[in-house]
């Protein structure tokens, strides 16, 4: 037992760690005050002693609880609220801005029972083209570049959880939610599912592999070629298999593009109008 957070592999993870550590200070301070106060009351005043008679209703007596409440409310709560608000605006909700930056990696993650289907846009950096490629439960990302993910679910609600990147986002059927992180340490890290999603919830793990830029380029080029070949074979079959279309609309942080992406695994494949089989 060490009571420490998992390794922080994300450039923005310190924000979460910071607010947790500040909370530690506040909590330890309040706990000490409480325990010392309680301890003195319990130890000093024993049965033989006459209790001090007061209803605690004088102005001065009421000031004690009121002052402490005000202190906790303004100092502790106030700091936590402002701090989290500024972190959200400065970084955590900035996924859409990251998309505008050069070098941002975009992936689409589809959760299903019990795996994570991950789609990359391929060499042209656009989804719904022939060189898109897929991985299952393995997210490969280069170090030092923002990764924007669009998250959806094909069946029930899952929780996309990257403990080492301080990321947790529910994957909700019918919605596409966007988030981002920026890896700062090479290595392999866990993807976990945070939301109970059925019997094998506990097995819905995966891996984030943070690799060097060169390695990422080589890997994605190879996968992209592979993707194009597979696409030519499978695309028609997939489209025919899927009988209906579903318009997926995101609502956070702003609406994701409404014809966003296709579920690679069946149930509700979204198809371009021109591609629909008659």
């Amino acid at each position: 037992m060490s009571f420490s957070l998992p390794t922080d592999a994300s450039a923005e993870g310190w924000r979460i760690d910071h607010i947790l550590h500040v909370t530690h200070w506040a909590v330890v301070m309040l706990a000490i005050v409480t325990l010392v106060w309680l301890g003195i009351s319990l130890v000093r005043d024993r049965k033989h002693r006459q209790a001090v008679f007061t209803h605690g209703t004088s102005r001065r007596e009421k000031a004690v609880p009121l002052a402490l409440a005000a202190f906790v409310f303004f100092c502790v709560d106030g700091y936590l609220l402002l701090r989290s608000h500024s972190d959200l605006n400065a970084s955590i909700l900035r996924a859409n801005d990251m998309l505008k930056k050069d070098g941002t990696i975009r992936v689409q993650i589809g959760a299903r029972q019990w795996a994570w289907d991950i789609r990359y846009p391929g060499a042209d950096d656009r989804f719904d083209t022939a060189d898109d490629f897929y991985t299952v439960s393995e997210l490969v990302v280069p170090i030092g570049r923002p990764v924007v993910f669009e998250l959806g679910s094909g069946d029930v609600i899952h929780g996309f959880y990257l403990p080492n990147f301080r990321i947790k986002q529910d994957a909700i059927p019918g919605r596409v939610l966007r988030g981002w992180f920026q890896p700062k340490k090479l290595g392999s890290y866990d993807i976990a599912c945070a939301q109970h999603c059925g019997v094998h919830h506990y097995q819905m793990g995966g891996t984030v592999r943070v690799v060097s830029d060169a390695e990422y380029r080589a890997w994605s080029a190879a996968m992209s070629l592979d993707g194009a070949r597979l696409h030519a074979e499978d695309a028609r079959a997939q489209v025919e298999e899927a009988g209906y279309q579903l318009v997926v609309e995101g609502n956070w942080p702003e609406a994701a593009p409404s014809r966003a992406w296709a579920w690679p695994w069946g149930r509700s494949v979204q198809i371009k109008e021109s591609e629909r089989t008659p």
């Binding site: 009571f3 420490s4 957070l5 998992p6 607010i19 947790l20 506040a26 909590v27 706990a31 409480t34 309680l38 009351s41 000093r44 005043d45 024993r46 209790a51 001090v52 008679f53 007061t54 209803h55 605690g56 007596e61 009421k62 004690v64 609880p65 409440a69 906790v72 409310f73 502790v76 709560d77 936590l80 609220l81 701090r83 989290s84 608000h85 972190d87 959200l88 029972q113 069946d155 029930v156 609600i157 929780g159 403990p163 301080r166 947790k168 986002q169 529910d170 909700i172 059927p173 919605r175 392999s188 976990a192 939301q195 109970h196 059925g198 919830h201 097995q203 995101g250 956070w252 942080p253």
Partner: protein
């Protein structure tokens, strides 16, 4: 009254005392069921995949006595639902609400005795359904939150156990509304002469405010359960994506679910506020401040539920509003808490067993409140959400604090209920064991959660980042077993004292409130004539009274000399 047949007096009774005791027995029985489920569940985290000792072959015959992934989902679902709806609620609200409200306000019975009886029997039906549901070959396995579309479809959560359980929750909700209407009416209309609202013991305030929350929010739960049942059984699409909305369910569930925490803890707050006063022989510090704080928390309780939905893509504006309101709850909570500490300060403390449990409640409640600070801010919650930190936090409040509060209340009112005292030494041992092991159990969960361990995992050690937490999980499990074993002492004491307990006098604790003015146990219809109330409930340690009467307390029905 005495002409009524035995069955109307003791079984289908409309006497609030009998109904209260029926709730108490039923609640304690299901506390046992819920507790045993937790023990089996903790075994799996201590020794994953190993056969459960003693009961393994009985419960999990196909897997040679080991918990299977499917049965594990059944265990945590049933444990949560059993405890929240069928154990803690009947004990705190059903038993104490019924038994003590009329006695404390000087009434002869509840406003609607027959509705009261119906409320208990409906609860019992619901309890039987719940028990049947977990004995089905496919027990409910959705998690106690029963999120859609996991639960609203048949493929992920199979079996009729789930439906039985949903029906049970609906019924217990209806019973809860009956009780709530009854409590509110009784408190508003049946108070004795002179018993103004601001002279009511704080226990009554806690139960009264709980009843208001119940009346407001249980209907929301009942509706959510019903819609879910319709989706599941009749194929409606309330919570289906593309037609309905799965998140709608979470809004409904938590609009009830968050107030539920206060529904369970408010009676405890009220009771321990009184106990601190009585057992430190001192008036409750700033009575009105405590009352207004509890009211403020009630008002806020329905406005903060959004913090359960931070990770669902809640709009940032809405999220921040919920965050601010959530953090604002600490204001009134601190006032209430500091009032307790100030009540104890410079009192003449009697370490009777009810007082020990009240102090224990204060400690674990402080732990629960402080660990909640980590979950309020949206950013901190990104990491903490759905981890064992959350589990440890809400168990400190909804399990440790509500149960220790219930024990305080049981030890305190037992003499009044059964006319006998519980064994003091056994009570002390029960207290020390429960407090120490509760802190170890839920503290262990907090540690594992802080390191990132998720909840509801059949085998958490699949994950690289959790694998080093095996030993803390095992220790936590053994602490939980310890806590379970210490409850045997309570069970023996509770039942044994019925027979061997010392006879209780009318007022064994020297307490001013009205229930202690009548014999133990009270006669039917409680008061021979309507009491007239002259004082607040906490006239203790008044030097003027001491001089005139030679005792340090003044009963609520005694005129100031």
């Amino acid at each position: 009254m005495s002409k009524k047949p035995w069955i109307r007096r003791y079984v289908f009774s409309t006497d609030h005392k009998i109904v209260g005791l029926q709730f108490l027995w039923a609640g304690l029985l299901f506390l046992l069921v819920g507790g045993l489920l937790a023990m089996v569940m903790r075994w799996q985290w201590a020794h994953p995949g190993e056969p459960v000792p003693w009961v393994g072959n009985l419960l999990f015959a196909e897997s040679n006595g080991a918990v299977t992934p499917a049965s594990y989902t059944g265990l945590f679902t049933s444990h949560g639902l059993m405890m929240v709806f069928f154990a803690v609620t009947p004990i705190l609200i059903g038993a104490f609400g019924n038994y003590v409200i009329p006695l404390l306000i000087g009434a002869r019975d509840m406003a609607f005795p027959r509705l009261n009886m119906l409320s208990f029997w409906l609860t019992l039906v619901a309890q039987c359904l719940a028990l049947a549901s977990i004995l089905m070959p496919e027990a409910p396995s959705s998690g106690w939150t029963m999120y859609a579309p996991l639960t609203s479809r048949l493929d992920s959560v199979p079996g009729h156990g789930q439906e039985l359980m949903m029906l049970a929750i609906f019924l217990v909700g209806v019973a809860g509304i009956m009780g709530a209407v009854n409590y509110i009416t009784t408190v508003l209309t049946h108070r004795a002469k002179g018993m103004t609202m601001m002279r009511m013991p704080l226990s009554v305030w806690g139960l009264f405010l709980t009843a208001i929350l119940n009346a407001l929010f249980i209907p929301v739960l009942a509706v959510a359960a019903l819609l879910l049942l319709l989706d599941r059984v009749y194929g409606t699409h309330f919570f289906e994506p593309a037609v309905g909305d799965p998140i709608l369910y979470q809004h409904l569930f938590w609009l009830f679910g968050h107030p539920e925490v206060y529904i369970l803890i408010l009676p405890v707050w009220g009771m321990i506020s009184d106990l601190f006063s009585y057992f430190s022989r001192k008036p409750a510090y700033w009575y009105r401040g405590s009352v207004y704080s509890m009211m403020a928390i009630c008002a806020l309780s329905g406005l903060v539920y959004g913090h359960h939905l931070y990770q669902t893509g809640l709009g940032p504006m809405l999220g921040t509003a919920f965050e601010a309101l959530t953090l604002a709850i600490s204001g009134p909570a601190v006032i209430l808490f500091v009032n307790w500490l100030c009540t104890l300060w410079r009192g003449s403390i009697r370490y009777e067993v009810p007082m020990l449990f009240a102090i224990g409640t204060l400690i674990v409640f402080a732990g629960g409140g402080l660990t909640g600070l980590y979950l309020g801010p949206i950013t901190a919650d990104i990491y903490m959400h759905d981890t064992l930190w959350v589990v440890g936090h809400f168990h400190l409040i909804m399990s440790a604090a509500t149960l220790m509060g219930s024990f305080a209340a049981i030890y305190y009112w037992y003499p009044k209920m059964f006319g006998r005292m519980m064994n003091e030494r056994a009570g002390q041992v029960h207290f020390v064991g429960t407090l120490v092991f509760a802190i170890l159990t839920f503290g262990g969960m907090l540690v594992a959660g802080y390191e990132g361990q998720g909840r509801r995992l059949f085998d958490p050690f699949q994950y690289e980042f959790i694998v080093h937490l095996k030993s803390i999980n095992r220790q936590t499990s053994y602490a939980a077993f310890g806590m379970g074993l210490f409850q045997i002492i309570f069970a023996v004491n509770f039942i044994g004292s019925l027979v061997w307990g010392k006879r209780a006098s009318a007022n064994p604790w020297d307490v001013p409130s009205l229930e202690w003015t009548v014999s133990s146990p009270p006669p039917s219809e409680n008061f021979a004539e309507e009491p007239v109330v002259h004082n607040g409930p906490h006239e203790l340690g008044n030097p003027a009274v001491q001089k005139a009467l030679g005792k340090d307390w003044l009963g609520q029905d005694e005129a100031m000399p």
